[in-house]
Structure formats: structure tokens, C-alpha cells
């Protein structure tokens, strides 16, 4: 295990700076996967998006938005839970969650970066995308939310939050001589732990917490609006898309956070710093989010089935019986199974890490499938004009690019863990009292 072998005489905590063979293999593996993703993407750049399985709607019967957009939705959804947990635990003084606040922030930053990268990858003209958004972006378009609020707002805010929140710890580790000392000093930015500094820090963190939650709710709701304002696609139009997006985001985000927390706990040798109470809290949150997500899934399906517009019914039919039925029922089953696992633990009041991780994996997969079902079938089936139904399933290029994105995310998180203490070195409990 990671902590088993020491590389140098470094005294940095939590294995920071110690690169074991396992870590090397991990980095190498992730770089290879990411590299392969990059290769697939470069093929896409040179030959055009023809190399993917995406095609036009209508006469071509394809899906112009494919796996990439599914992943954008998924990754940005995942980012939601992290920063919210961090901020909420700070504002509501949930002590049990304090140890994982940095994990949560890291998950947010990582998934946001990868998610926004997926946006760029999905553009026909990525560079023009950035330039023209700055020159001509229109707030009337929901993409304004993705680009301006998420990319220019939530991501920088999360980075600042992560940065400032770790500054105290940076000052602590910066005192240890190591190869990373320069980085840590830079991070500490002259923090000297005076009373005034502490006070300022707590104030800033409080106000950032207070500000960041509404920002992220607004920003991420626009992700739902991307679909919700579409009259042209059966199954999309509706005011529920915004909240629905958030609920599923919460479920998938918490599930991923739980898994990541469990991984970090193992990495740090099953440390007591991340105790059962952390998982209990996460389990409870996840239970609520997953229940709500399942509820939304069912409500949405029933609405579709009883919808007056025939196309909505056709779409429901396609989901229940048609070519997407297997994904649909698998996602419902996974979500329900995850929920049952959580309910059993809640009922017995015995929260165990193993079952929790399993439930998380189930729920996260269900959420991914649900994202897929939101994005794809409305493009290929039940179109308002009687085009013949089409089909879409991602091809290896798309899978490779997405695998590359996952690898990139894992790499980011892994590098962070090896560069900085992943658990807070100091408790921050006085925050609220001082504010």
C-alpha cells in the first residue's frame, strides 16, 4: 500500500511527496489512458467529428449531441456535491464532515475542469468557441450559464475556495524541507498564523461559502435549462429539468465523494481522521438525494406516459419498451438497488463503508445512465416531424476520449494528493463562532 514504503526522509504528513511504485504505476496508467484519449481526440480534430458516431437529427436519424454532452452533464453534476458539502459543513458547522472538506473541494475542481474540457471537445471549433463566447456570448442562451457562470464563475470560485481553505495547512507543510517546499511556500503566500490573519481567513471563507452555494445552484440549474427550454424535443421541455438536474447532480456527486473518501481513507491506512461518522453523514445525504432522484425519474416517466402530446408518449414507449429500454430499466434498477442498500443501513443504523461504496457505485452509474437517457433518446426518437427513428451509440473514439477525461481527472486528484495534504491538518471549528 501507498504508505508502506517511504522514498526519502521527508517528514511531510499523509504521504505527501512520497511516490511509491504503486503510485508510479497509477500515474503511468492514467497518462497512458489520457494519452490514448488525446490521440482519439486529435483524430477527431484532423478528420472532423465524422469519426465519432454522432450524426444529425432528422434525415440522418442521429444524435448531434452524444456521449460528450452526456459526460458534460455528468461531470458538472458531480462537481455540485463537493463544493456544496464543503460550504454547507462550514456554514452549518457539521464537524463530522470537516475532515473531508478538501476532498470535496478537490472533487469539485477536478470534475469541473474535466467537464468543461468535455464542452470544448464537443465543439466543432473549440478555439473559436472560447474567443467567440468572450466576444459575442448571449445571456439568452443557456450556454451562457455553462460558459460564463460555470467556467468563469464556479470554477474560479472553487479554485479560490480550495486555495484559501488550504492556506493555513500550506503554511504548516511549508516549514518542512522537501522538493515541494517552494510550492507550499507559494501556496502559503506569507501566511503567518497571526490572530488578524486567522480572523480574515475565517471571514473570507464564510462569505465565500455563503456566496458560492447560490452561485453554483444558479449555474448548474442552467445546465438543466439547456434541455428544459427546448420545445422541439419531446421529453425535454419542462420546468423540472433544472431541479431534476440538481437532484441527480447531488446524488452522483455525493456518491463519487463517498467513493473518493473511501479511497483516501484506504490510502492513508484506514486513518481514524475519516471515521464512521463521516460515512454516516454522507450516507444520509446520499439516501435523501438518491430517493429524490428516483422520485424524479418516476414522476418524469409518468408525466411522459400521460402527456397529451403524442410524441411524449412515443418517447416514453421508446424508453420503456424500445431500443433504450435496457438502459432505462438498468438505471432504475441500479438506482433502486443503491437506495435499498442505503435504506437497510439507515434502518439498522449500521453504516458500513463497503456497502456504502457499493451503493455509491450503483447510484453513480444509474445517474450516468440517466444523463444518457435525458440527452440521447429525444434526439433519435419521437421527433416532432415523422422522421424514421434513428439510432446512436458511442464508438471507440468517443469512449476513448471519455476514458481519457476520467484518467485526466484521476491524474489531477492523484497529483494533488501527492503534492498536498488531502486532509486538513488543523481544525477549523471556530469559524462560525467568529463570524
Amino acid at each position: 500500500m501507498a504508505v508502506a514504503t517511504q522514498t526519502s526522509g521527508s517528514l511531510l504528513p499523509q504521504g505527501v511527496g512520497r511516490i511509491t511504485r504503486t503510485w508510479r504505476l497509477f500515474f503511468l496508467g492514467m497518462i497512458l489512458i489520457a494519452g490514448f484519449g488525446l490521440y482519439a481526440y486529435l483524430r477527431e480534430v484532423s478528420s472532423g467529428m465524422i469519426v465519432t458516431n454522432m450524426r444529425d437529427t432528422g434525415t440522418m436519424g442521429g444524435a448531434p449531441w452524444g456521449l460528450y454532452v452526456v459526460m458534460v452533464e455528468y461531470f458538472i453534476g458531480v462537481s455540485f456535491a463537493g463544493i456544496v458539502i464543503a460550504a454547507v459543513s462550514r456554514v452549518f458547522r457539521i464537524r463530522e464532515l470537516q475532515p473531508i472538506s478538501r476532498i470535496a473541494e478537490l472533487l469539485t475542481v477536478g470534475s469541473l475542469m474535466v467537464g468543461l474540457l468535455a464542452v470544448l471537445i464537443d465543439l466543432g471549433h473549440p478555439i473559436r468557441g472560447v474567443v467567440n463566447m468572450l466576444l459575442y456570448a448571449r445571456p439568452q442562451s443557456p450556454f451562457f450559464g455553462t460558459f460564463m457562470l460555470v467556467a468563469m464563475g464556479v470554477l474560479p470560485a472553487s479554485l479560490v475556495y480550495l486555495y484559501l481553505g488550504a492556506r493555513q495547512d500550506a503554511a504548516v507543510v511549508a516549514e518542512q524541507p522537501s522538493r515541494l517546499q517552494r510550492l507550499h511556500r507559494l501556496w502559503a503566500a506569507g501566511y503567518s498564523d497571526t490572530e488578524a490573519e486567522r480572523l480574515r481567513h475565517r471571514k473570507v471563507m464564510f462569505w465565500l461559502s455563503v456566496g458560492i452555494v447560490p452561485l453554483i445552484v444558479v449555474a448548474l440549474s442552467t445546465e438543466g435549462l439547456v434541455f428544459g427550454i427546448q420545445v422541439g424535443r419531446p421529453g425535454w421541455f419542462g420546468s423540472l429539468q433544472g431541479p431534476d438536474f440538481l437532484v441527480l447532480a447531488a446524488a452522483s456527486g455525493l456518491a463519487n465523494l463517498l467513493v473518493l473518501t473511501a479511497i483516501v481513507r484506504r490510502l492513508l491506512g484506514n486513518t481514524d481522521r475519516i471515521g464512521p461518522s463521516v460515512f454516516k453523514w454522507l450516507g444520509r445525504f446520499l439516501l435523501v438525494a438518491a430517493a429524490a432522484a428516483l422520485y424524479f425519474m418516476i414522476v418524469e416517466l409518468i408525466t411522459l406516459m400521460y402527456a397529451t402530446p403524442e410524441h411524449e408518449r412515443l418517447l416514453a414507449d421508446e424508453l420503456i419498451r424500445g431500443s433504450y429500454a435496457w438502459i432505462f430499466w438498468v438505471s432504475i434498477a441500479l438506482m433502486a438497488a443503491g437506495l435499498v442498500l442505503l435504506l437497510v443501513q439507515a434502518g439498522t443504523r449500521r453504516w458500513q463503508i463497503g456497502p456504502l461504496v457499493l451503493a455509491s457505485v450503483l447510484i453513480s452509474t444509474a445517474a450516468l445512465a440517466e444523463r444518457y437517457l435525458t440527452v440521447i433518446p429525444s434526439q433519435t426518437h419521437a421527433t416532432l416531424l415523422p422522421y424514421e427513428p434513428g439510432s446512436y451509440f458511442p464508438n471507440w473514439i468517443e469512449f476513448a476520449v471519455v476514458a481519457g477525461l476520467f484518467a485526466l481527472g484521476a491524474l489531477l486528484i492523484g497529483l494533488f494528493i501527492k503534492a498536498f495534504p488531502i486532509l486538513p491538518l488543523t481544525d477549523d471549528e471556530e469559524v462560525i463562532a467568529d463570524a
Partner: protein
């Protein structure tokens, strides 16, 4: 200011798809792309079978969902009613394509040189190039490279670059010369009528005084500028037959 509209007379339409081909030549669109698609429908069981045709150009909606969602204003509505794409502005997000309930948008999935049926006809063939200079396609329309409208934006034609969206322009390059769109001009039975609905003397205005038009997916609230007379609105029980090979 002129307000351009199109009327499609389904009592006349023979479903021949001459409009489709005229559009493709005029606008140099690539293989698998049908700015003007003509549905051929069958419904009912033998022998109570009925057939119908439905030409589907871009509807040039007054309340165009594609214009609303475009993040960079590449898709815009002109004052004369034309809904156009500035392919020099488009970032290739395909949001307009998703927003459009009519399925009229086409993305340039690959480079234009490759999408002109080059798998079976080599337009850059040496002997042909002696005459065409290797142009792809050899019938390349130079009008499409010009800027149009008061805005002077690159909006004409299709298939200019990899990774942008394209769709029916009502042949802006012809309309600005006072000509009909290519589809209207070629229709063997004059089932397509194009003109200025603001001018009471235009043929289209005369037409609309006599015939009661309906619009595609009226309930979507898009207010299309393309109107249909005769026939009836499509419904999900129609089965599309004789689909063109829409592959890129």
C-alpha cells in the same frame, strides 16, 4: 422592408425532389445533406392506403428556437425574415440543431473536400482538373463566398468548413439578386411560391388571399414563415417511405 415567405402547395407537390437537387447544386451542400428534404409518406392498411408528400425547407421561424439558443449569435434572424447562419461565427456546438423541432440543421462532420461524393467521383481527377482546376465540387458556386445583407456576414451556401452548422438560407445569394430560391425556381409543378408577404401585389400575397395556409407544428409557437396549403399536417401515424441515403 420586404418580408419573405414561402408557400408550399401540397395539392400540387409530386414529391419528385427536384427542389432537393436544385438546392444541393445551388448551395454546394455535401453528400447526405438535405436542406430541402421532401418526405414521402404512406399511411393506412391496404387497400385503404393513402400517400402524401411534404417538402421541408428551413421554416425561417419568426420565433426561431435556434436563434434563441445560439450562444454566440451565429444564428440570427434578418429583418426580411430570413433566418441565417454566420458560418464565420459559428462555434459548432449544434445547439440550434437540437432546438429546432423541424430537423433542418446539418453539421459539417468532415472537411468539405471529402463530403462531395468523393468516395465515388474524384473531382480532383487530373484530366478533369484541366477544365475545373480541381474545384470541389466542380460546379462550385462563387456567389457563396460573398457577404450578404446589411450586416455583411458570411451566410450563403453550405459546406464551407469543417465543424460548423449549416441549413437552408432561402438562397440568400439569389434573393438578394431578386431571384427565387433554387427550389422554387425548379419545381416542375410550381408547388413552391416565394415572395414578399408585405407587398399586397406579390404572387405569394395573392395566393394567400385565396388559400388558407397552415404551418408545421403550429403548437410549438415558432411562427414559421413557411406556410402550407392543401394536404394536412403530419402526424406520427405516417410512415416515411423512400428515404434518401442520408449518410456522411
Amino acid at each position: 422592408m420586404a418580408k419573405y415567405s414561402m408557400v408550399v402547395d401540397l395539392d400540387l407537390c409530386q414529391g419528385c425532389r427536384a427542389c432537393t437537387e436544385a438546392c444541393k447544386i445551388e448551395n454546394n451542400t455535401g453528400s447526405g445533406i438535405f436542406w430541402m428534404h421532401v418526405f414521402r409518406f404512406e399511411e393506412g392498411e391496404y387497400p385503404e392506403t393513402k400517400m402524401s408528400f411534404l417538402p421541408r425547407p428551413c421554416q425561417h421561424c419568426d420565433n426561431a428556437p435556434c436563434v434563441k439558443v445560439c450562444p454566440v449569435g451565429a444564428r440570427f434572424k434578418r429583418e426580411d425574415g430570413l433566418v441565417l447562419t454566420d458560418f464565420d461565427r459559428c462555434i459548432g456546438c449544434r445547439y440550434c440543431e437540437l432546438a429546432c423541432p423541424y430537423g433542418v440543421n446539418y453539421f459539417t462532420w468532415q472537411s468539405p473536400e471529402k463530403s462531395h461524393y468523393q468516395d465515388v467521383v474524384d473531382w480532383e481527377d487530373d484530366d478533369l482538373a484541366l477544365v475545373t482546376g480541381g474545384l470541389v465540387p466542380p460546379y462550385k458556386n462563387p456567389d457563396l463566398d460573398l457577404k450578404y445583407g446589411e450586416e455583411q456576414r458570411y451566410t450563403a451556401g453550405g459546406n464551407h468548413a469543417k465543424g460548423v452548422i449549416e441549413k437552408c438560407t432561402f438562397c440568400v445569394q439569389r434573393v438578394e439578386k431578386g431571384m427565387n430560391p433554387a427550389c422554387v425556381e425548379t419545381c416542375p409543378v410550381n408547388a413552391l411560391i416565394f415572395g414578399d408577404t408585405d407587398s399586397p401585389d406579390s404572387p405569394i400575397s395573392h395566393y394567400l388571399r385565396v388559400r388558407q395556409p397552415w404551418r408545421l407544428l403550429e403548437e410549438a409557437g415558432t411562427h414559421p414563415r413557411v406556410m402550407y396549403v392543401g394536404g394536412k399536417p403530419p402526424n406520427p401515424s405516417l410512415k416515411e417511405i423512400e428515404r434518401p441515403k442520408a449518410e456522411v
